[in-house]
């Protein structure tokens, strides 16, 4: 465990050093030929006052988006998985299939749209500075949700082809995917936070898929941040952390650029650390190193 923590701290230190060296290397804006106008400088110093608040707001949105994406991706993927399985037993009518395809494609357009496109098309309609909108956009746009739902779905499919699933079926563990039948899937369980399907083979599949998905969380963290940064920059509203970042880049105020970047990097790194510790703990458990410790299945 100490090794994991040390590695992450070393990573933070390394990036910190690089940023520090860069800040020494890059020229000071005031000495630059195209020095920015005094107005802009004034505007900037004015805006950089509530930096702490901006950082807090950004981190809050980040955490919310991470959690919602984790839940949303699982729910969406699970739904798709069950539908796929149902399709193998009952072939739907071609009209229904075509309808689903069209509806799904239209929805995909929304889900795959980069944040900035949605932001701009909504700018005249809703208040774009709201924190709720930020969170919703962070989850839905940039392909975040649909990408990670796709990954989770792939894991589910992959697990469902494994041998232990067959063995479970041979033991007559329920393996029908019909909705709400005694040996099938209760639909309302699909939407729970803690998704469990006791006595059904899906419980095994889901548990294993979730176990493997955890390492994807790290990837998800840095992608969610990327999405949030893009949205905030595109929203172009003063008072957002990444708007400050963009302004600092444009005005070549490199110290501020590197500072904000380091804060964001820290957020990802801390997530990584948390995920690694979580993986380490559960791995130890499942590697039979802590036989008596009860770990919740989530």
């Amino acid at each position: 465990m100490k090794k994991i923590v040390a590695q992450h701290i070393a990573g933070l230190a390394a990036v910190g050093t690089v940023f520090f060296l860069l800040s020494l290397l890059l020229p000071d804006p005031r000495l630059h030929e195209n020095a920015l106008s005094m107005d802009a400088l004034a505007a900037q110093t004015h805006a950089s006052a509530p930096l702490g608040g901006m950082v807090f707001r950004f981190l809050f949105v980040y955490v919310a988006v991470m959690v919602l994406t984790y839940y949303g991706a699982q729910t969406l993927a699970l739904f798709r998985f069950v539908r796929t399985k149902q399709m193998t037993t009952e072939l739907p009518s071609p009209i229904a299939a075509a309808g689903t395809f069209v509806a799904w494609t239209i929805l995909s357009f929304l889900l795959f749209a980069p944040g900035y496109v949605i932001v701009y098309s909504l700018k005249s309609v809703v208040d774009t500075s709201s924190i709720v909108l930020m969170i919703v956009l962070g989850v839905v746009s940039n392909g975040v949700l649909v990408n990670y739902a796709g990954k989770f779905y792939a894991l589910l499919m992959n697990e469902s082809r494994k041998g232990y699933v067959q063995t479970a079926a041979v033991k007559n563990v329920h393996s029908s995917y019909c909705w709400n039948t005694p040996d099938g899937i209760r639909m309302r369980r699909m939407f729970r936070l803690q998704k469990r399907f006791p006595g059904h083979v899906l419980d095994h599949i889901l548990h294993n898929a979730r176990y493997q998905y955890r390492s994807t969380l790290k990837e998800q963290a840095s992608f969610v941040i990327t999405g949030l940064v893009i949205i905030e920059m595109a929203l172009n509203i003063q008072g957002h952390l990444c708007y400050e970042l963009l302004q600092s880049i444009l005005f070549k105020n490199y110290d501020s650029v590197l500072g904000i970047m380091f804060v964001i990097f820290c957020a990802v790194k801390i997530t990584d650390l948390a995920v690694d510790l979580w993986i380490w703990r559960a791995d130890r458990h499942y590697a039979n190193l802590e036989p008596d410790e009860a770990i919740s299945r989530q």
């Binding site: 795959f112 392909g143 893009i230 920059m233 172009n236």
Partner: protein, 281 residues
């Protein structure tokens, strides 16, 4: 499913025909200079995407194989390399790209990079730095998969060289499908990142620097003031649905650029999914 062509092929066809349809529509209803710009932007973005993929594949392959050999020889470099890869992995791509952009302005000022091609190549290079990790991960995972079984020892025992086993027998003969799948998804990510960073930077830039020397890409084209208006116009439809037809005639530059971006991302994701399904990855 098996009676239809694979969904990867299906979506490739949909992508190409969709693009052709947009181009045909644009050539009829969009003014000539704007149309030329849309085409140029599309071309630039695609070229940058392809270059990114090629670079990412090269870097990923080299890093993955190097890591395997370092670990085999229990060299200290293995730890160093792994640490660096982890570091890049936890760096949000956008931060890396912005750093790359900062360096680019620095180079532009100093005249180190002067041409448009140079700028495109630099952007592709920076993006590939942050995406090759994914390729490297696949390669490392695949090599480990085979090294954990009897595959590698059995070949070694028969006197086959380790370089040949890793590069030819494992990666070339057995992992092309994995690499193809990864290449496609890296291409999608590259387009996404490049458009996004060009967009956000151009939005800010439009007030400051003249854009004449910057290569136009889908992202920067969308950030231009007239395209931005077009995208804003999409919002009008929410309050006034009768405005919808105007989008496809009057606001064509922005709408078709946005459409091309989203449609490309969507199709590439579907193609990658199709490949994974076809080869059971």
């Amino acid at each position: 499913m098996k009676r239809f062509p694979g969904s990867d092929i299906l979506w490739t066809v949909i992508w190409i025909s969709g693009l052709a349809a947009v181009m045909a529509w644009d050539s009829a209803y969009l003014n000539a200079p704007a149309f030329a710009q849309v085409q140029e932007a599309f071309l630039h973005s695609m070229i940058a995407g392809v270059v990114t993929v090629v670079l990412a594949l090269c870097f990923g392959w080299i890093a993955g194989v190097a890591l395997y050999f370092f670990e085999q020889r229990r060299s200290g470099w293995a730890g160093v390399l792994r640490f660096k890869l982890d570091l890049i992995r936890s760096m949000p791509q956008i931060l890396g790209l912005l750093t790359g952009y900062v360096l680019l302005t620095f180079f532009l000022d100093r005249g180190i990079i002067a041409t448009q091609t140079g700028q495109l190549l630099w952007t592709s290079f920076v993006i590939s730095i942050f995406l090759f990790i994914e390729v490297a991960d696949v390669i490392i995972e695949r090599i480990h998969h085979y090294a954990a079984s009897d595959f590698v020892p059995a070949m070694l025992g028969c006197g086959i060289g380790e370089g040949r086993i890793v590069n030819v027998e494992i990666l070339w003969r057995n992992c092309r499908a994995h690499l193809l799948n990864k290449a496609v998804s890296v291409f999608g990510m590259a387009i996404f990142l490049q458009c996004s960073v060009d967009f956000v930077v151009s939005v800010g830039l439009s007030t400051d620097v003249n854009l004449t020397n910057v290569p136009v890409t889908l992202g920067s084209l969308l950030a231009k003031i007239d395209s931005k208006q077009d995208v804003l116009a999409m919002g009008i439809v929410f309050t006034d649905p009768s405005y919808l037809p105007n989008l496809f005639v009057r606001h064509l530059q922005g709408v078709s650029t946005a459409f091309v971006i989203i449609f490309t991302l969507l199709c590439i994701a579907r193609i990658s999914e199709g490949i994974a399904k076809r080869y059971r990855l």
